[in-house]
Amino acid sequence: MMTLLLCIFFYSNSISALEPDSKILSKKELKKIEERVQQELKNKSLPEEKKFFLNLLAGRELYQYRFFEKAARYYQNAIEMNVSENKSEAYINLIAIAIDKNDKEKVRSLYEDSKNYFQKNPQFKTADIDYYFKTLENYLPLKKNQMPPEVKGFYGRFAHEENLINLIKAHEYQKAFSLLNPQGAAQSTNDFNITIYDSLNVLLHKKEVKTLYCNKQYKQYPDSFAMSTIICSLLNDYLEKGKFEDKHVKLADLYFKENSEKKYIYDMVGELNEKK
């Protein structure tokens, strides 16, 4: 009985950690608005062009309040319509919704579809769309030995970080490390960046590594249930004893079971324990 209660407690807790729906519109209101829009979309006397804009606007309004699933439906409708209007918004926001879910496969298929669309409709392909596509080419994993295009400015950090993650997931550690600047890592205050730098550095240079940048925070908060602390404890174990302490491994197992989206970092660091 107690186990069942605990299961329910943890289940409800993990559910509550998901992002709730916006409260700006009640379910009843949302339903009413959607029914009206659907009614208009079924209206046979309404020109297709108007229906296209109606889909676009419904998508836009719902995106604004983070009703992403519903927004995606209207944008998808807009894409499927046989009209000559500019469909850029529908493609871009569908990609943005897939990025929000970190669904790289969906992003890839939308990217391919939108590339085809812009090839057939070059009048809508502006310079900013090119810039956006270059960013996606960093976001999506590439084939071995392919290099993604350089992305400067506004989308730069996102593009570089996603490319770095892809390389680590593909076990291309040397290539990933070559992207990083040691002086920049020394000055970094970003826990993700410091963790990645230290992990790659130890994995590639083993016991030659003299400084872990994560230690500054780790020494202050040694018991913290944060990825940076947990990985730092494993890296210290390796440098000091050549293997991980059991208590640190147990905590890491617990952490990465809960935060599976970051497990690729644990997998990378775990190679130290295997190789010794």
Partner: protein, 379 residues
């Protein structure tokens, strides 16, 4: 009348029906946004903007009117007036010795719920932090990590996410240092509860955070910091990777002078009404170089040049408070930003998230206030 025109009229009629069938201000505004799109007003007349403008108009219509009577401008003035009355019942006066304002200390018996929990911009100042740009009221980490990559340094980071998250905490969070921290003994429970707090913040809902003094202390804790770094990135992507976000890098062509002046007026209104808005700027010659910052104040120099005080997340908060960074509006309509001495500013816009987030936050804060103050059903 041509058939097409008839269809168009019927369509607008249907949309008007849609508007009137909705129950709330936002519901109405959603309907209005549909009409606006078909009449050519486009993105800027989203339901968030429609609802925001309605709140702004209401606020301007009531400016100068005191809820405390003709002689009083503030609750303290009202208390002075009460104090001068020859009252026999001292306890009745004592009851009045509380603050009768948004989130005030009075209860709903001695102060009206409309005063305590107004559905206007006053409600945004829940913890008196909506206008505070100090380090204590800021995230402990900056947006910049510009030297981390070996080959590339010319990027601006997750500024949009950083600005929006800072703004949300400043408006929505109440830190309660004397209360215990959530799930303190179990790391998994603690992490799930922290995630839940951040999810609510992302959903524009008010949160109470026990065990921490302020945002700086909260975001220094590594368990929190890592979740906040994640959410800053996620929010950046939500905003920047959308069509509305992509639009900002499309061109570095500056806005016409009159439009920029109007934008300064609008920002000035927002700053004076607890909003510290997020703005997006880019480089005139390199439109993909863009940045999002918060505006914490406005002013003008002795020679009449207007400026905005910029709370720039590329700098530690200790270097970006109390108007240390300024953006000047020149007579010819061009803009200079003190932190961008070698760049010319092209476009400047209000973040497209500003109106919808503000409207949503006001609605959620008012509900929370009504619940806390026993005002449910008393409006």
């Amino acid at each position: 009348m041509k058939r097409n025109n008839k269809i168009h009229l019927f369509f607008l009629f249907a949309l008007t029906l849609l508007m009137s069938s909705c129950e709330t201000q936002i519901g109405t505004a959603v309907g209005a946004a549909f009409t606006n799109l078909l009449t050519g007003a486009g993105f800027r007349s989203s339901s968030g903007t429609e609802a925001y403008e309605a709140l702004k108009n209401e606020s301007m219509a009531h400016s100068g009117q005191s809820p405390f009577g003709s002689n009083c401008k503030t609750p303290n003035d009202a208390l002075e007036v009460i104090g001068t009355k020859d009252s026999k019942n001292f306890s009745a006066i004592k009851d009045k010795m509380c603050t009768c304002e948004a989130w005030g200390t009075c209860d709903s018996k001695s102060c009206s719920c409309q005063m305590l929990c107004p559905k206007n911009f006053d409600i945004l100042n829940r913890s008196k932090t909506a206008n505070d740009d100090s380090a204590e009221n800021s995230l402990s980490f900056t947006n910049s990590d510009g030297e981390f990559y070996a080959k590339y340094s010319d990027y601006t980071g997750f500024c949009w996410g950083h600005a929006v998250i800072t703004q949300r905490f400043n408006r929505l969070a109440q830190f309660l240092p004397d209360r215990p921290r959530l799930g303190a003994d179990d790391p998994l429970v603690r992490q799930r509860e922290l995630k839940s707090i951040i999810s609510k913040i992302n959903n524009n809902e008010p949160v109470d955070i026990g065990g921490y003094k302020n945002l700086k202390e909260f975001s220094t804790d590594p368990e929190v910091k890592e979740l906040l770094e994640d959410t800053v990135k996620k929010n950046w992507a939500r905003n920047a990777m959308s069509t509305q976000g992509l639009h900002i890098v499309a061109s570095g062509e500056p806005n016409p002078v009159e439009e920029t002046k109007k934008l300064f007026d609008d920002i000035d209104f927002r700053v004076k009404h607890n909003q510290m808005p997020a703005i997006v700027i880019n480089d005139m010659n390199e439109s993909s170089y863009a940045h999002t910052v918060l505006v914490s104040g406005t002013g003008s120099t002795d020679d009449g040049k207007r400026y905005l005080c910029i709370r720039d997340n590329n700098y530690a908060p200790e270097r970006s408070y109390d108007c240390k960074n300024k953006m000047f509006l020149n007579a010819d309509g061009s803009l200079n930003y003190s932190a961008w001495p070698y760049r010319k500013i092209g476009k400047m816009e209000l973040s497209y998230t500003e109106n919808s987030n503000t409207v949503e936050q006001i609605s959620n804060l008012q509900s929370k206030c009504a619940s806390d103050k026993g005002c449910n059903g008393l409006f």
